[in-house]
Amino acid sequence: MSRRPALVNRLVLTVAGLLLLAVGAAALVRGLGLYPRLFGASHTPVVDPAARAFADRHLWFWAALAATMFVLAVLALCWLAVQFRRDAAHAMRWGSDAPEGATTLSAHALTDALGADLGDSPYLRRSHVRLAGAPADPRLYLDVTADAHADPVAVRGGISHALHRLHRALEDERLPAIVYIRTER
């Protein structure tokens, strides 16, 4: 998984939490009459009559409110979309940066080869291989499920072997891999 959604989620949740906390705390302070000078008197209506009159007189207030809500809804939907977007790459760049020598390698060719190699290991039940990142800066995500009682040394050996073969096939092109190993229940 790419770490970008993790960062975005942390940031947005922090901002949302701070906002709610600030609004709630301010309302509490006002209601309890802790700082009447700063926050206003506690025994007053929540919606100030003056504010109501202002909103009633100015049409742009409502238009601005609708526009703000529209922007907020769109931003929330964008945030939602980030959660479900998979950071999948279709290809990786292979070989030198020379303009005439830029070869790209399809993600399918790569993940299929590695998947087949992993499938050859008798200890591995399932494997899921995914290429991610930009073509010039690819990453490989491996999700491997081993037998419940599989020898851990053999499991690691099988994975290392498959990755090693892939590296050799790529002629030592750098391809960082993130491997997640689990055993069957």
Binding site: M1, A27, V47, L65, A76, A177, I178
Partner: protein, 199 residues
């Protein structure tokens, strides 16, 4: 080119990189907050636009809300309770955002500096349980695996199970060694004898 020495030297940062790679992404709270925000903002927008063109969309209890705004006072207990709930929700979201969460995998040693390997924490637990039950005289074992600690509780039908503790510890240690964890966890073992069993 082998860079095994390099990989070992970067061990701490590798551990951090793996932890980061397997850290929960807070997808569930993000989806919940995003959906609620989108729905609320959309409803308010629809209602305001409807009011602007001179009719009511009736998706929100507008008249009730307007009356509430006029009649509710800041020192009303209901308003105070609402404010407290809002602040508490804010604190909760902050906690969710700031608490990093337990990674779903522990780092496994790997010579290749380009490979980050993690073993699922439940798998560490199952391996430890397996090793403990493999010891003669142990019928059942449950383990709790964390990043830095593994606790094994084994049960034996033998009345005098004290002597088994060391044996279980050795067996589990051997298995943990095989897992080649970057930071070998501390191991604690207790063996209980199930009373009334075979002696």
């Amino acid at each position: 080119v082998t860079r095994a020495g390099d990989g070992a030297a970067r061990a701490p940062s590798r551990g951090r990189a793996t932890r980061r790679a397997f850290r929960p992404r807070r997808v569930v709270p993000a989806v919940v907050v995003a959906v609620l925000t989108a729905v609320a903002a959309f409803l308010v927008m629809v209602e305001v636009i409807a009011a602007l063109v001179g009719r009511s969309a009736a998706v929100l209890p507008v008249t009730w809300l307007a009356r509430l705004g006029r009649t509710a006072y800041w020192d009303d207990p209901r308003v105070l309770a609402g404010a407290a709930a809002l602040a508490a929700l804010g604190l909760f979201l902050l906690a969710v955002a700031l608490w990093a969460g337990r990674p779903r995998a522990v780092t496994v040693r790997c010579e290749d500096p380009d490979v980050l390997m993690g073993l699922a924490t439940p798998s560490v637990r199952r391996y430890a349980e397996d090793a403990a039950t493999g010891v003669d005289g142990i019928v059942d074992a449950t383990a709790v695996a964390r990043r830095r600690r593994v606790r094994v509780r084994a049960t034996s039908p033998l009345r005098d199970a004290e002597g088994l503790t060391d044996e279980v510890r050795r067996a589990v240690e051997r298995r943990l060694d095989e897992l080649a964890l970057l930071r070998p966890p501390r191991l604690s073992v207790t063996v209980r004898s199930r009373g009334g069993g075979v002696t």
